[in-house]
């Protein structure tokens, strides 16, 4: 696939829902990713677009990028076991009170990341593996976290503070 085709294919996956109230800057937008780490490069520009469109603060923008990177990379590497042909759908919802919600849907085997142990940092230094930092970051940077299994896979909802 040429660079041009690749760009076009990526833009095809950037879809905006019909339910956008421009006056109140509320609405819902969607980003569909392939289960490939390289697709994560699409996330920061998408978050930047959301930030400019819905008036999201830089701090919240940072938190959204941080949480999305963690959640999406875990789905790709663990949920889909690096199978590159699966998909992940990220939906953004802005509400009247200007708070933001990111909903991540996958079609991977059931896994509740919120039930995973938050490993002490000391163990990450002395232990044989480095992990457990991710869930600690999610709990620190998202104001609300909810998990639910879906008929197709998993859904993780992450709330963020009101925009400026």
């Amino acid at each position: 696939m040429s660079d041009l085709q690749e760009t076009a294919a990526r833009q095809d996956r950037l879809t905006t829902s019909m339910n956008v109230d421009r006056a109140n800057r509320t609405g819902e937008e969607q980003l569909t990713l392939r289960s490939q780490i390289s697709d994560l490069a699409m996330v920061p520009p998408w978050v930047e677009h959301l930030a400019s469109h819905y008036g999201i603060s830089e701090e919240t923008q940072y938190a959204m990028n941080l949480c999305l990177e963690e959640v999406l990379s875990n789905i790709i590497r663990h949920g889909y076991s690096n199978n590159p042909d699966c998909r992940i759908i990220v939906r953004y919802q802005s509400s009247q009170d200007k708070s933001s919600l990111l909903v991540v849907d996958d079609e991977a085997p059931l896994f509740n990341p919120l039930a995973a142990d938050e490993m002490p940092v000391e163990d990450t230094l002395s232990g044989t593996r480095i992990g457990g930092l991710g869930i600690r970051l999610l709990r620190s940077f998202a104001t609300r976290l909810e998990y639910e299994p879906t008929p197709a896979g998993n859904r993780l909802s992450m709330g963020f503070p009101a925009a400026r």
């Binding site: 920061p44 701090e59 940072y62 990177e69 990379s73 000391e122 230094l125 480095i130 930092l133």
Partner: protein
Amino acid sequence: MEMAIESLAGDVTKVVFNGRFDIAGAESVDLKMNVIAGSKKLVLIDMQKVSFLGSMGLRTIVSAARTVKGRGGKIAVYGPDAEVEKVLTMSGVNTLVPIHHDLQSAIASLQ
């Protein structure tokens, strides 16, 4: 992400990161950072020009800290901006790798 290495007085090795320390950033420096951590005893990580720190970047730092400390060395972080520092403190990584905003005190902490 760019990574530059400087030798300072007192046998301190300064590693300067520049850019986004996301998954791609971490992948681009992990190998070089492993070499530094495996061969140097006093390591100062300059984060002044890091605009974003994600969990993979954190893992790079924790991994380097584990290696350096395991070899009896010392490691510190210098100059993160407010958001990067928040990631370091919220994750608890600051308890393993002290954060400094003054270069001289950062170097002194390694001696």
